[in-house]
Subunit: 206 residues, 2 copies
């Protein structure tokens, strides 16, 4: 579809902007823009303003780097949570995923990514410094690494482990094994092997 | 995903707005919003403003009802085009599709939909009145119906044909038949039957 075919410059600009979003091609962008064009003005302004406001006003928690509406996020501000237990995650989405399990009562530390030389992301691009400060301050009892089980995640785990070893803090990683509901015969051999090596006393799983 | 899991109200509002778009679920909405959150502010404001401006400033051509940046769209304003030949289409997207073929030199009339009792769309919801005015004004030589080949499209074709019959204007519909590049054995029987009944002298297809 050539740009010459757009009947309006305004339409074309909006389609181009939509098409910049990941996973949205030009055809989908046009469909979305024409949909918005059919909506009430107030509805479209609400859409447009919600995005502008979000980008302009969202803050990052100064403690855990999670997104927040205030200087300290509601998780870090919660005195009922265990502030001596820090879960290290890659992104905001991981915080949401773990919160949804309702199985974690500590606080988080959002790294902002994992070490990935292929993508040009080194340790200095992540919030490792502030995490080290927290650990140094001696108010941390345990650090749980909850990173992706990819090469990059494992590299980051290892880097952090080596870096923080000297502080004598307890470091753990989330368990890796056969997913609940999975059938053994379809589980990949690496995962199955790991879950055998790291087998648990049966009573621990009750 | 419950709303309680969002770490920020601003984020939640933006995700809800995105999720209203057709074909965008809440997971995709979150992915798009987090993508925007990572972009430069200026980029996000450009996105947001392009949508607001589009909705606020886009006009509809007073002649053909196509979208336009001015009172009369660039197609209707083009004196090189044949203003006695009107192609009736359902939507703006159809105008773009036909323009891309570069095979049509007349002007358009955008109905804004097709008659569809199931969706509560009757003749009065479409721009049939203005089309009748144009035909009445005696400056129209031929009207080409280029509507979808669905039940609703056919109903609309028939309705328009009956309505405009009395004005003695030439009315045609776009040809229906086997798509170019299709193999006969995979063509559905209705289409194949139609294309046999409406067979053309071979020299017309050269």
């Amino acid at each position: 579809m050539t740009s010459a075919s757009f009947p309006s410059k305004l339409l074309e600009v909006a389609v181009n902007e939509f098409a910049k979003l990941p996973g949205i091609g030009r055809k989908t962008a046009l469909r979305l823009v024409l949909h918005l064009l059919k909506q009430e003005k107030e509805e479209v302004f609400k859409f447009s303003d919600s995005i502008r406001m979000m980008r302009e006003e969202i803050m990052y928690c100064k403690s855990c780097h999670n997104i927040s509406d205030s200087e300290t996020c509601h998780i870090c501000a919660d005195t009922n949570r265990n502030h001596e237990l820090i879960c290290v995650v890659e992104s905001i989405r991981d915080v949401m995923a773990i919160e949804n399990t309702q199985q974690f009562n500590g606080i988080y530390h959002v790294l902002g990514g994992v070490i990935s030389p292929m993508d040009g992301i080194g340790p200095d691009d992540l919030t490792i410094g502030p995490l080290e400060e927290k650990i140094k301050s001696d108010q941390v009892n345990e650090v749980v690494f909850a990173l992706s089980t990819t090469m990059e995640g494992d590299t980051t785990n290892f880097y952090l482990f080596k870096k923080f070893e000297k502080y004598g803090v307890k470091m753990t990683t989330i368990a890796r094994g056969v997913s609940i509901g999975d059938e053994l015969e379809y589980t990949d051999e690496v995962t199955l092997g790991r879950s055998l090596v790291n087998r648990l006393p049966f009573e621990n799983t009750l």
